[in-house]
Symmetry: C2
Subunit: 270 residues, 2 copies
């Protein structure tokens, strides 16, 4: 048993833990604590379990970019995680991981890891600004998120909105753009590893335009910095719906106003 | 010799052609006609050759999303393209492709294909608008692009700008945002396959802020519609530079004002 297999303080780490069963091959157990409005575990959460395997194979500490293809819905229960080291460099390393259930691929992801240790010499340029939200304490929790039954993710993750989202009341004429606060419910600090999952924890922006059934085809996330402690300010939006497809962008900014993750997915209306 | 091996009218098709040498495995010959300001063939072009192999393995006509990790610089000359069919569905199919030179991986890409045949029933929502450019005939060609020696891509692709880009004159205080027209020089119509390559044909937006050396780590492209004939209106921009990394977004809109491709890459300053 390696250090990785010891007990975890936080739910996200417990629920994405893997055990090595062969060189580069791991087992995981997906739980039912990360379900959104669908019947299956959230894709970002499943990707988190897959990356727990890849983390151990690559020497660099931080995922810089992850691209995941979602092939089939996951289900709570056992999974196998197979990793492959594609290229090891000095500054970055690239790997691939497949998470399978019942012998079928659920998610396949490529990832390049590097080191996001703060570098005071590095040039910083930001031409956008974080979501302008009231303090989390001034924001509201939609009642539906308070007593989650189906929506189990709302017991694992806390959300705070400036206004009640219109889609909760069946409004479909809104703008597919939402800003809100997010953090783990049990106080787990966000880090570069959890950000890869958290970019998929938003309610889809297209709910605001009446699209209630959408499945992710592919998700790419850039992790841009290590977040400071505290609530994360999130911005989720869609600009283009057409041909039965839409993109969804998600940005996560930390409490110090730094963009820490930037993600885009292609999703299919079903 | 299959139909695919017959001679091609256009340079892009000739230069990305592959020959099958085993089930799912192909050979390609990269040319020197797609070089930007670096010493090696453009990554989008190399990805195009890789996808020529994957095209033959998947039954759907259009790439919907492609994610490519660029592992090593390519060089003009022979390459091997290895494909894998990951999942075949009714509406989409997903595959993976690796392009190797000298036994080493140059690019590894995943792709989901589907069918972008126009569907008049499909909902269309667009919350952004195409680049506002003068007609291509009123735009200018930078002199550096007229007599390309190093910049061989400028003999394969035509560019038209409303203003002369500042970086050509060593200006480094600009905004990392550019809009311009683009098309193949030999009249090849753009299609969903060539768009996957063309999203990497822009001069990097960060040239305008004095960053002259940047390498792509990963590129994701969403192909959103089949383009109509004619010039393509392009928008390339970067919003965040930090930690030695930056993202670069590229949008391609067709002459009818439809967003046909949307891409983002993570690149490293070197």
């Amino acid at each position: 048993m390696s250090l990785h297999d010891t007990c975890h303080e936080y739910r996200f780490d417990r629920d994405t833990a893997v055990q090595e069963r062969a060189e580069g091959e791991f087992t995981a157990t997906l739980t039912d604590a990360w379900r959104t409005f669908t019947t299956h575990p959230n894709g970002g959460y499943v990707l988190g379990a897959a990356l727990s395997g890849l983390d151990r194979q690559l020497p660099h500490p931080d995922p810089l970019v992850v691209s995941a293809f979602f092939l089939r819905p996951a289900a709570p229960g056992g999974a196998v995680v197979r990793t492959e080291v594609v290229r090891q460099g000095r500054r970055t390393a690239t790997g691939q991981v497949v998470l399978e259930q019942g012998g079928k691929e659920v998610v396949r992801a490529g990832a390049t890891y590097g080191d996001l240790s703060p570098d005071p010499q590095a040039r910083v340029l930001s031409l956008d600004r974080p979501p302008q939200l009231p303090d989390p304490e001034q924001c509201l929790v939609p009642a539906e998120f308070e007593a989650p039954r189906e929506l189990t993710i709302a017991s694992s993750v806390q959300y705070r909105y400036a206004q009640r989202p219109g889609w909760l009341d069946g409004e479909v004429g809104g703008c597919p753009h939402a800003e809100f606060w997010m953090r783990f419910a049990d106080g787990r600090p966000a880090d570069t590893r959890s950000l890869v999952s958290m970019v998929d924890f938003a309610a889809p922006a297209v709910l605001e335009v009446g699209e209630f059934s959408t499945v992710t085809v592919e998700l790419t996330v850039h992790v841009r910095a290590r977040p400071v402690a505290g609530w994360l300010a999130c911005r989720v939006f869609t600009k283009h719906v057409g041909g039965g497809l839409h993109e969804e962008d998600m940005e996560i900014w930390d409490r110090s106003g730094v963009l820490v993750a930037q993600a885009r997915q292609l999703a299919m209306l079903v």
